[in-house]
Symmetry: C2
Subunit: 461 residues, 2 copies
């Protein structure tokens, strides 16, 4: 590996304007929105098109230099952190919406398109692109596809994978492939597209993404329900699911989360120690029947249930949920948000187990999340580096409890660096070995986004 030679080669091949070796840029691209710091890369390539991406992957391959792909760098598990330095390959400069086809309900975008801006464009056409991770104003679609991003609306609409029809992808060494289709159905060959979605930048770099769109709902209603404890709220979640009510969002917040939100200045009934925020929508279907059914199942055991159908009222109901990320971040110097998933009937058990684990390890925690999917953000909070070992034991305890309850380590953040050590808790060595073999088909030298997903990956940070 000769990074300096690779940088000179990249400057010659791509032109120096696309290869940024300034300290500020390199520093900025050594981290993402996780607590992990990588090794500062030798250069950051800002690709303008798929040829630039392919050329970068060819040059790095020939010099044996590691490449870490990066869209917006808003990931939570270190997926965009350059563990081994090398080159960061940024696709944030490939930000064109190539096509929005109203008739075929298809969009074609480059990976650097901001999710929020794309959604606005799509909604102007009366269409809808549902995935809505909380970073939607700052995250980019390339990263969403790499991590298979979710969000509150996944309960009804599914995650990013459900919307990716086809990909143009550049592989290590510089080959560019097209996978998938432009049609909603298709079973021609293996589903390479689904293999690439959620592969966390370890198999290839997306240069063009074909997405499925749906028509925008014409009716939306929001319901807020307050409970005396999280058990009552979780029971209400189970009743929603059991009655076959499919809200687009079904969000839960526990006592400590509500307390954080109150401290942040959002007014929430003092008696409430758990909250559900539920949103239903429809098209060519009035919401009266579903709101009535929802009212019936939410009311039991609740302190209060409030519904809103106009936008101003809806925004008020969303206030606590929206404040949540900032409000909880203020609680301690360090915060790590996990995103485990359990079968929906196991939510209360997991919350009980988390509380017991955190009591034992003396770690402060709180929980909220997409309860309808069983996807909970258990947040660990600490103020001093010296507490790190007990936090790590608590996280491992949470992972073990999750898997024992039939769950999975990650619902939407990915494994990245933060959970790779826990992968063997969920997956057998045969399955991990098979995935490593699949990785080798795409990247025999292990140069593309090294150190991610697999516990035996290259150097930690």
């Amino acid at each position: 590996m000769d990074v300096e030679k690779a940088v000179r080669d990249l400057e010659r091949t791509l032109g120096p304007s696309k290869v940024d070796t300034s300290a500020a840029t390199r520093d900025g691209c050594a981290r993402d929105d996780s607590p992990f710091a990588g090794k500062i890369p030798a250069a950051v390539v800002f690709a303008k098109d798929s040829a630039d991406v392919a050329a970068t992957l060819a040059v790095c391959q020939s010099h044996g230099v590691p490449v870490t792909p990066r869209a917006a760098g808003t990931g939570r598990t270190g997926g965009a952190v350059p563990v081994e330095g090398g080159i960061v390959l940024a696709t944030s400069t490939m930000n064109r919406v190539i096509e929005i086809d109203r008739k075929d309900l298809v969009a074609v975008v480059q990976p650097g398109v901001l999710l929020g801006e794309f959604q606005e464009l799509v909604e102007k056409e009366g269409l809808f692109y549902p995935p809505d991770p909380s970073s939607l104003k700052t995250c980019m679609i390339g990263g969403n596809v790499a991590e298979n991003a979710g969000g509150p609306r996944a309960f009804k609409y599914g995650v990013t994978r459900e919307y990716v029809l086809g990909l143009e992808v550049a592989l290590m060494g510089g080959r560019v492939l097209r996978t998938g289709k432009r049609t909603v159905k298709g079973v021609t060959g293996y589903d390479v597209t689904s293999l690439l979605v959620g592969s966390e930048g370890t198999l290839g770099v997306f240069t063009e993404i074909t997405l499925k769109l749906v028509h925008a709902p014409t009716e939306v209603a929001t319901v807020l329900a307050l409970y005396p404890d999280v058990r009552a709220a979780a029971a209400a979640v189970e009743r929603v699911v059991e009655n076959g009510i499919v809200p687009r969002c079904l969000e839960m917040m526990d006592e400590d989360t509500l307390e954080a939100v109150r401290k942040h200045g959002v007014s929430v009934d003092a008696r409430a120690k758990a909250m559900l925020l539920v949103e239903v929508d429809g098209r060519h279907a009035p919401l009266d029947a579903i709101l009535e059914a929802l009212g019936n199942v939410l009311t039991d055991g609740a302190i209060d249930v409030v519904a809103a159908q106009d936008k101003a009222q809806q925004a008020r109901l969303w206030e606590a949920r929206r404040a949540l990320s900032i409000a909880t971040r203020k609680l301690a110097k360090y915060k790590l948000s996990e995103d485990v998933v359990v079968p929906r009937s196991k939510i209360v058990t997991l919350l009980d187990r988390s509380a017991a684990i955190c009591d034992r390890e003396k770690v402060r925690h709180l929980a909220y999340g997409h309860a309808g999917d069983g996807n909970l953000h258990v947040n660990f909070l600490w103020n001093d580096e010296s507490e790190k070992p007990q936090v790590e034991r608590a996280i491992e305890g949470l992972m073990r409890a999750t898997v024992e309850l039939g769950g999975t380590l990650s619902g939407e953040h990915g494994i990245g660096l933060s959970k790779r050590a826990y992968l063997p808790i969920e997956q057998g060595s045969d399955l991990i070995g098979l995935q490593e073999d699949l990785k080798r088909v795409f990247d025999p030298g292990g140069l593309l986004n090294p150190g991610k997903i697999f516990p035996t990956g290259h150097g930690a940070c």
Copy 2:
């Protein structure tokens, strides 16, 4: 390769009762519901559990003997045809529904469970498993997963892939892995489950399947619309999609299909030269609004539009669609049904192109299918072997037209033997090569279901 030794080894390992070497069974398992005949296998193993499957794959690997997995053998593209003889590995004897979990909306089944029987069990619980290939009474879930089966209800509910959460799979050589999850969300590692779904029995043999269920709709309504020509019907399909109406089924039949159905004794208005059969459903949502919207967009250019909300009337409206398979089969000695998919706005263009191609090649054809998805069953009919070359030219013409229009070769039948020669029309050699590399990760010796999907596969039949 020593098939005789492998058979003796299998008899010893599994016990002779599971290894059937009778001529009748071996003959029966040399074909499926496609026009292809394979080489008669030396034996058919009827596996009772995953250990039997693993042992068979271990024995065959050690003797270098090809294995062709088989569930019900109802596939349309030769996926279960043993091109090289060897051993047929039947999972039809693994037919237990292990679990239906009403709370978590999950079912666990063995691969030999009949789809229709499973759907009945699920519906008794008030739940719903949507995929509905026309063979649903005779096909098995293992085959559905291998081929990623669809059906009319895919327009609203998606295909089999959308319902497979996790798999237990035995690989060539005898390793048994668990992939995926039991939760609706999960991004832990690569999506190996999606790679296996639709892999046509070439990567592994499913021994247990974890499926997502949904709640059964409480309201269903059926609408039949008749048109003076297929162009008017296709325009109505486009209006349905453009207006964001999402029926669960949106089926189209062309003039020749209606003629076949009439000959079969089903009464259809003589003026009608195209038919749409549309079904909408809902839960906690009355259908009045969607039926009104549907009525508005179907009526334009229609001869007649009829709606039915009770079961008897609905069955009458479905009569033509249900008769279709038998009715069209009577039209000629040979029939081959393709299942190409085009973007929905290209349906009329594809029908025009098919007609021109068949005129030129003097091949009789008709078309029907899942118009909402752009998934058309173009059927080629012929009576004499001597017509085969012109039929093949017509099929190739259809495939080229489909790809030129932005479509894909197969929407639900798979590639198997019947379409493998056409794969390069749609996919580049790099993508085909990558898939062959993925195949080698699972089956380095190329012994599992050889000759399928890839144009350069082992011996044709």
